[in-house]
Amino acid sequence: MSEGVRQPSSGRPDRVEVVDVVLEDGGDTTVRPCSPTVKAFLDAQRERLRRWEERNAPPPANGTAPEGP
């Protein structure tokens, strides 16, 4: 594993400076449940997708519009 950080040439706040953080391999591959924060994030994302699918569902065959907002 190697890790390198390229520091900027100056700290002047009036220009964009780029810092590279480079990591190679390593890390933890232990399988574990995701944290409550990430779980809440994933569930919220699923709910957004579910609502989008509801809004964009094809109309029923008889031509009546689906109920709901």
């Binding site: 590279d20 391999d25 574990r32 990430v38």
Partner: protein, 132 residues
């Protein structure tokens, strides 16, 4: 006072080329799906790239790869990122060469700063057709 950064982008790609003179970055073969002959998938090298900005202070940052069929973390990597001022861009690159995806499913790749999700993208491992 510290300020959590925002992410400008998050990509998975096969290769990153950095121009020695200008430090400009070229991402090669960005992808969001890979086919595997079997699972666990044979490791294939790829690079996770994210660009952070609008932060100040030093933060723990973390890459997590989560299976969306079980909500289990299958990979995590921690590091620290330091922002000297909000205009600074931190280009974070993580090259993985030996990680094996354990199942054919959709994964969420998350990048967290100070414990909060600042970037994410979905990524799918599918089995090659002859295996399905």
């Amino acid at each position: 006072m510290s300020q959590r950064p925002i992410a400008l982008a998050l990509f998975l790609c096969e290769q990153v080329i950095v121009d020695e003179e200008t430090r400009a970055v070229t991402l090669v073969n960005c992808f969001s799906q890979r086919r595997a002959a079997q699972v666990p998938a044979a490791p294939f090298p790829f690079v996770l790239v994210t660009v952070l900005t609008d932060g100040s202070g030093e933060f723990p940052v973390e890459v997590q790869i989560t299976r969306l069929d079980t909500d289990e973390i299958v990979y995590r990597r921690e590091a620290r990122a330091r922002f000297q001022h909000p205009l600074q861009e931190v280009r974070f690159r993580l090259r993985l060469t030996s990680f094996s995806f354990p199942a054919a499913c959709v994964y969420e790749v998350l990048f967290l700063a100070d414990g909060e999700v600042v970037a994410h993208r979905r990524f799918e491992i599918t089995l090659s057709e002859e295996q399905t």
